[in-house]
Structure formats: C-alpha cells, structure tokens
Amino acid sequence: MLTLKNLPVKNLNSYPGRTIAMLIFAGLMSAAVFGGMLIIRGLRQGLESVQSRLGADILVTPEDADNDFDAQTFLIQAEPGYFYMDASKLDQIRAVEGVETASPQMFLASATSSCCSAKLQIIAFDPDTDFTIQPWIRETFHGAQKLGKMDVIVGANVTVYDDHILRLYNNDCRVIGQFAPTGYSLDNAVYTDFETIKVLITSSFDTKLNKYQPFNTEDVISSVLVRVKNGYDAGDVANKIKNSVSGLNTTATKSMVSKIADSLSSISTSVHVFTIVILFVGALMTILIFLMMINERTREFASLRAMGASRNILSYIVIGEAVFINLLGGLIGIIASAVVIIGFSGVIREKLGIGFTPPSPRHIIIPAFFGIVVALLAAVAACLAAVKRVNRLDVSLVLKEGE
C-alpha cells in the first residue's frame, strides 16, 4: 500500500547504507543515555542498601581470621568464609568506653557435597541484640516474618526451589523469605538465628566437613557488630577496642563504604563523560549523514514538487524519515543495552569492583524514555537543516541540472 504516511519509510529502502549508519548512531546515543542511567542508578541503589544493611559502626573480627576475612573485599567477594572467637570477648567489648550496642554474629559456610543444597555463606544473628538484620527483615516483610526453629531467610542470589527447603548439613531448613537484591555479597548469604546455626555447626562436625575441630557452640561467636554512642568517633572506639581486648581486628564500616562511594563517584564521572562524547559524536554524525542523504536526493524532492507536493508535504517526508530512523535506532539501542546490562550484571559488578543491582522493569521506563528522547532530539536537529534545504529548492533549476 502506498500512502503519504508510509512514503518516508519506503524512501529509506533505497538508501540502506545511510539508513543503517543513522540507525547505528541513534542506537549508540540512546544506549549510552539509557545504559549510563541504569548503571549509575544500579550502583547507587547497591550502595544505599549496603549502607543501611551494615547498620553498624564497627565490625569486630578475630585477629586470626585474616585468611577468611578481608574488610576491603568482604562486601563484594562472593567466597563464603567462617571463623570463630571466644564468646567472652563480647562482654569485654561491651565494657569499652563509647560502645553503645554490641551484637554477636556467627558464621558458617555450607559445603559442595550431598549434605547441602549449595555452597553458601550462613550468617546468624542474636535476636535479642541484633540491630542490623532484623530491621532488614522488618522492612522486607513488613514485620510479619518471624524465624522459628530451622527457619532461614535467604539473599536474593540464593536459588530456592518450590518446596522452600534448603538442605544444610543434612538438615532441612525452611526458607521463609528472600531479601531484595543489594548487589553485594550479602545477596549470597543465608540468614538465621543463633539457635539454628548452632544445630548446623554441630551437624557440620558430624559430617566432618568443618575445617575446625569440634567445639562447644555455646562458647563461640564469629564477629561482633558495634554501634558507638553519640559523640564518639567510630575510629577512636575501634582503636580502643583493639587495644583493650586482645586478639581482635576492628574495621570502621564507614571506611568500607566510603571506598565504595569513592569508586562509585569516579565511575559515574566516567559514565557521564562517555555519554556526552557519544551524544556529541552521534548527533553530529546524524546531522551530517542525513543532510548528505537529502542532498543526494534533491532531484527526488524536485520531482515531488513538480507533481504538486507542497513544501509542507516535503517537510513531512523529511521529518518522517528522520524520526522513523531515530525512533527505530533508539529502540534498538535500548533493547540491546538492556540485554547487555541485565544479562551481564555479574560481569559488570566484577569489572567495576562494586555492587551493582540489575534494574527492575519499573526502573527501566524513565531511562528508556530519556534514551528515546535523545535520539529524537538528534533527529529534530538533523531535520532543521534538511527541511530548510528542501524548501529552498529551485525546482525548475534542479530538474534541468539532472539531464
């Protein structure tokens, strides 16, 4: 069917090279804007959630856990680890000046063997004193969720099957919920309370899969999360803990997070610069290629005038061609970049070295809108010059020249 409406698209058939080149530049522009917005958004979201999830000012770990715990990589490293210290350290830490709350945690890693569903980090909190995981649970499940015996809540990356059972050292644990993704190693963990993890640790001794010699689970903890009193500096309190209690390492969580924040801001600067360069080059190329294409076709436009097409119709055709190409190119760019970002979010996280949360469909709409708008703006810019060009045609002269 030939109509005025589809004339612009039909015209493009005969200029595949230029059309494809313009599609590519439109796609690059929309992909850069869309992808850049998604990546920065994902990184920010990850940082915000990890900040609130950590919730503590100081993380205290046993000194001899160096091989299993590195504060620099703890948040982004997926490899599970576990280590223990004497439970009596907890009271000593509580006694240090400036400590407001101190809550112990216990760790365990499940094994890649038939006893367990998968190799996972298991983190247990003390329900009476915990101030980091329980708020997270309340926020996620609106307060309704309570951990019973052998119940666990899992991070976003933990696969849960229909039966909601996670096998850990031959124990069937009931998965009662799953947290939303943070983009950090917290997503790979299984969360439970002290009562349950003590059963699991005992079972790990029974299966001989624990790297440590059996011990009384009542006597140990893995780490202590500390919140400092108002008016105290976390760094100072951390030093005091280290000096007054032997065999401990302390990490101010602010320094863990601020490293992430630093690299986030340098990444977003690079993303912005990259996006601006792409937009500049893309818009310039779009305008140039489109003008060249219109210029080559002056005879076609003069012929249209000869059969009675008004300047408005010529403008409509020119605008229709540019808008069609850039709308299509913009869409392709967005789809391609969404596929890459969502499909490769693991690789992105690894390469950037900081947590990245893949966007939910709801969060794709606004960046997609801006991606399309940018591609359309380039089309408008290209049209401004091209429309002027076709409307100034000396029809009689152009038709004469082509002979």
Partner: protein, 222 residues
C-alpha cells in the same frame, strides 16, 4: 477553463557578468486550449522549457502573469498553488523524475496520494503503464529501468490525475520509433478527451499529432 500566459517574461542573472541579465523568454502571450495539442519546437536554448515551467507554476516569471481560470498562479501561497497544480496540471519535466525507493507502479500512483487518503488508484495506474508499454515493469525499481523507460513512466504519472492541462517537456526524448508512437497516441487521446496539451519537442514525427505548431527562437515565437 483556461490556462493563459499574459506577457510573461523571464530573465536570468548572467553568470560571470555582474548585474547583467539574460532574457530567456521575452514577453509572450499564450493560451492553451481544451482538446488541442499545441506543439512548441525550436533550437536548444530557445526558451521552450522556461516558458513551459512558467506555465506549470514552478518558475515565477520576471514579469507578466499566468492565469488558471482567471487566478494568477503566482499570487497563491504555496499550499494553494501546490494543490491546484496537483489537481489541474500534469507536468512531464525534462530528465529523470523517479523516486528510487518506490516501484514503477508506486511512482505512477504518487500524485494521487499527496492530498488524498483514499487508496491509490492502482487500476488506473496499471492501465496507463500498459499504454506506455511498461506493464511488465510495474513492480520493478527505477534503478532497473532504462532512461527511455523512465521517460515513459513520467508520461504515465503526469496523466494519472486526468488533469485539464498536460505540460510535456520533450516526453519522447531518447525513445525509439515504436515508443514515440505509443506516447504520442496517448497524448492525442488525452487531448481528444478534453485536456489541453502543451508539447515541447524536437521530434519531427510529433507534428502530425499536433493541432498547432509554434516555433521559438531567442525567447520569442517566430
């Protein structure tokens, strides 16, 4: 129903010599008549195309008027003039006029879709393509056609709207004997159906189809 030129004149700036003009057409009075083919011949450069373009509404005369049913074409705004020309004037310009993205059939139907959303007149276009002996080429793209075939396509296109006025600038240039005859027969038939035809040509053979023959030289009829 009339298309009249009233002392139309066209000056072009002379290349090189500044502020000097070259008069391609000296003031001419000229009428097209329904049912008649008026042929204009003359040497190359004598002003035939310039006069024809002024009559067709695509070249504004330096002075004088072109009146279609009493309306001076060059006083209309672009939308009015374009619509009027689309409906009333079938123009066959010199040279190639194909849109490369469209098939031959679509090229012929093009004038009909510019201002109307009703389906393109496929049957009418096929009938005209048959009369210029291009029916086999209907679905080809212009790149696959020869220059002569594209000329015939332009003839079919100009006749699509059954306009009152057909202005043909060397429609048979580059055609062989047989095709010249089919194009001339078609123009004759169009005139017999009531259209006024202006035919600019070098072709000797065209004379026997014309009702009146005028010769131009140096921008004047002689």
């Amino acid at each position: 129903m009339s298309l009249n030129a009233k002392s139309v004149q066209k000056d072009f700036p002379r290349a090189g010599k500044n502020s000097n003009v070259f008069t391609a057409v000296h003031p001419i009075d000229f009428n097209l008549q329904p049912g008649k083919i008026i042929e204009i011949t003359g040497r190359s450069g004598s002003g035939k195309s310039t006069l024809l373009n002024m009559l067709s509404g695509i070249l504004k005369p330096t002075s004088g008027q072109v009146l279609l049913d009493g309306t001076d074409l060059y006083t209309l705004d672009d939308n009015e003039l374009s619509r009027l020309r689309n409906k009333n004037i079938g123009l066959i310009p010199q040279g190639h006029t194909a849109l490369l993205g469209l098939s031959i059939l679509e090229n012929v139907m093009l004038p009909a879709i510019l201002y109307s959303s009703s389906p393109a007149p496929r049957d009418r276009a096929m009938e005209l393509l048959t009369q210029v002996r291009l029916e086999e080429m209907a679905n080809e793209k212009p790149n696959e056609l020869s220059g002569g075939e594209l000329r015939r396509m332009a003839v079919a296109r100009a006749l699509l709207m059954s306009s009152q006025y057909i202005l043909a600038d060397e429609p048979t240039a580059g055609l062989d004997e047989e095709n010249i005859l089919s194009v001339m027969n078609l123009l004759r038939k169009t005139a017999d159906n009531g259209s006024a035809v202006l035919l600019v040509t070098h072709e000797q053979e065209a004379a026997r189809f014309a009702d009146e023959i005028l010769t131009m030289d140096g921008g004047r009829f002689i």
